[in-house]
């Protein structure tokens, strides 16, 4: 049929939902089948569809009906909807605010903030000090210990990983797949984690002190994983530069591990779960230390298995929530953004903690008002400690949420006697480290006072922290010249427990999550 030129008209539609060249092809193919359509050109980049009609044009509601089920929507006006920018200028130069997008953004930020505040309150609630464990504790005690870990530092690290992988894992199964299929990556992740904790716990128990990862190694590893989490968080938040970021095992590993056709990408969650053994939170390091000191393969295996079992409910809850939310298209976009904010927070939280462990500047410095180790001038001496029997006496109180006071001053060159009263530490706060001031760590025991003696030589500001870097403080060492206001007292106090900062050979942690045997 020939049409005269006057019968041909061109219309531009604005399209939402196109994301790739295949979408363009799909739309063009379908449009070319419609009566009266002469030529079609779809553009993902512009979000436009140009159609030449020979005869009657299609209305947008007809187009939306044709493409119903393909998740495209059509309009004759530029669409200011979910995927458009927050701020936009119209043709008159007037600023337009996308109200839908603004209310979504406020909703996402509000929910994220509530969850983050809830997490911080829970972590600082002192719940974790309700239970302490040692190598002879019962297995249910380790299970409860794991439950506590699951709602504190393990949620930040391992839960953060589960959340950050939720988008990738949801792509393995379509949203229409059964719940049983969609939950498989999470099930495999947790099975991998339980099995590795069981087996490697047994290894720890059998080889004992031969197995020793340095604190610096675990810190750097945790920072590396947290940087990966940051990238995944930015992907979930829709930052374009990170859209193609994928976490996969290198081909030469995956080829040997499994036939990809059979597993259809399922092996990766299992491996990731297994590898979480090497990403210990403070509670995990405590459990690993106790597995080591058990000196028995079965005991070590069961300690770690029951601990991991205790972390399972929270990790499973995070995984199931992620699965269910990604299934519902109208909620999945919001969920991904909330998850992205949480993962971003957890990643920064972990990085901050490890910077404390490594003695580097961190966000914690803002609360203790310090900077990196540096020379200091002679400052006001009124807050310098008393000198008893030739030693500067420092006294602090340690709890699971921190130290009081957390900023101390001492003189260089004069021995220090540091008395630390433990009023309820647990997890990683059961020991103090300060690599710049002394070697090893100060082991703490709830209800008792530990003592550490050392002599600071060089003026400067030195950080001290728990061995996971979650809580920290500073000791400022000032030059002793001109400190004429020192008060010297003789005393025969013998009421404190000497510190036993020998190190247990475990992964940077103490052997003492609780009372000593």
């Amino acid at each position: 049929m020939n049409f005269e030129k006057k019968d041909i008209s061109e219309t531009t539609y604005y399209v939402q939902g196109m994301h790739c060249a295949s979408c363009e092809v799909l739309i063009e193919k379908k449009m070319l089948k419609q009566k009266g359509v002469k030529t079609v050109e779809a553009s993902t980049k512009k979000g436009e569809l140009r159609v030449e009609f020979a005869g009657k044009k299609l209305r947008t509601n007809e187009l939306n009906q044709i493409f119903k089920g393909d998740h495209y929507s059509f309009s004759t006006e530029p669409i200011i909807g979910e995927e458009s920018k927050l701020f936009k200028y119209d043709s008159d130069g007037k600023l337009l605010i996308n109200q839908d997008k603004l209310s979504n953004l406020l909703y996402i930020l509000g929910i994220s903030l509530l969850l983050i505040i809830g997490y911080i309150l829970l972590s600082n609630s002192g719940l974790s000090s309700l239970i302490t464990v040692n190598s002879t504790s019962s297995l249910p005690a380790f299970f409860i210990f794991g439950l506590l870990a699951g709602v504190s530092s393990c949620a930040a690290l391992v839960g953060g990983i589960v959340l950050s992988m939720s988008k990738q894992w949801s792509e393995i199964y379509g949203s229409n797949d059964s719940f049983g299929n969609r939950i498989q990556p999470n099930i495999l992740f947790n099975i991998g984690r339980l099995l590795s904790f069981l087996i490697l716990g047994g290894v720890l128990g059998s080889i004992g002190k031969l197995f020793n990862l340095s604190l610096a190694f675990t810190s750097i590893l945790t920072i590396a994983v947290s940087v990966m989490m940051l990238a995944l968080a930015l992907q979930m938040l829709g930052v374009k530069a990170f859209q193609k970021f994928q976490v996969t095992t290198p081909k030469f590993i995956s080829r040997y591990v499994a036939n990809e056709d059979n597993f259809k990408g399922r092996y990766m969650p299992f491996m990731m779960g297994a590898l979480t053994f090497f990403l210990p939170c403070g509670f995990t390091i405590t459990a690993q230390g106790l597995a080591l000191t058990s000196g028995n393969i079965m005991t070590g295996a069961l300690i770690m298995f029951f601990f991991a079992l205790g972390t399972l409910p929270m990790l499973a809850l995070i995984g199931i929530s992620a699965t269910e939310f990604t299934k519902r298209p109208h909620l999945s976009a919001k969920f991904l953004k909330i998850a992205g904010v949480l993962v971003f927070f957890f990643a920064l939280y972990n990085i901050n903690a490890q910077l404390n462990v490594l003695g580097l500047s961190s966000f914690s410095d803002l609360s203790t008002n310090v900077s990196k180790k540096q020379d200091t001038q002679i400052s006001d001496n009124s807050d310098l400690p008393e000198i008893v029997d030739g030693k500067q006496v420092l006294k602090i109180v340690a709890t699971s949420s921190g130290y009081t006071p957390n900023y101390l001053k001492v003189r260089a060159g004069i021995p220090v006697r540091w008395e630390i009263e433990d009023k309820g530490t647990s997890g990683c706060t059961n020991a103090i480290i300060s690599n710049s001031l002394f070697e090893g760590q100060i082991a703490l025991t709830p209800g008792e006072t530990s003592v550490k003696e050392f002599t600071p030589e060089k003026p400067g500001k030195y950080k001290f922290s728990c061995w996971m870097g979650m809580v920290s403080g500073v000791i400022e060492v000032i030059s002793s010249e001109g400190s004429s206001n020192a008060i010297t007292i003789n005393s025969d106090s013998n009421e404190v427990v000497p510190s036993g900062a020998k190190g247990c050979g475990c992964g940077g942690g103490g052997s003492c999550g609780g009372t000593q045997n």
């Binding site: 790739c20 295949s22 979408c23 092809v25 799909l26 393909d70 792509e171 379509g174 996969t248 259809k264």
Partner: protein, 73 residues
């Protein structure tokens, strides 16, 4: 049942394009499903009811012509 594994399918739109092309080529009553089974590696599977060898070869040609798709088996 016959399955054809297809490479270079990277999204659900590709699955729909392949399904459309096959239906237009006469396979409308023979297709069971077209799914993107391995998004990470851009691999999908087309499942048919029983086909003879000629029909299989023709289906492969239709799929490969639909875009930059490659039938792997």
């Amino acid at each position: 049942m016959k399955e054809l594994k297809v490479k270079n399918m990277h999204c659900e739109s590709c699955a729909k394009i392949i399904q459309m092309e096959l239906e237009e080529s006469g396979y409308i009553n023979k297709i069971i499903s077209v799914e993107l089974t391995n998004p990470q590696n851009n691999i999908g599977v087309v499942k048919f009811k029983d086909l003879d060898q000629n029909e299989i070869e023709k289906a492969k040609a239709v799929i490969q012509k639909a875009g930059e798709y490659v039938v792997l088996n």
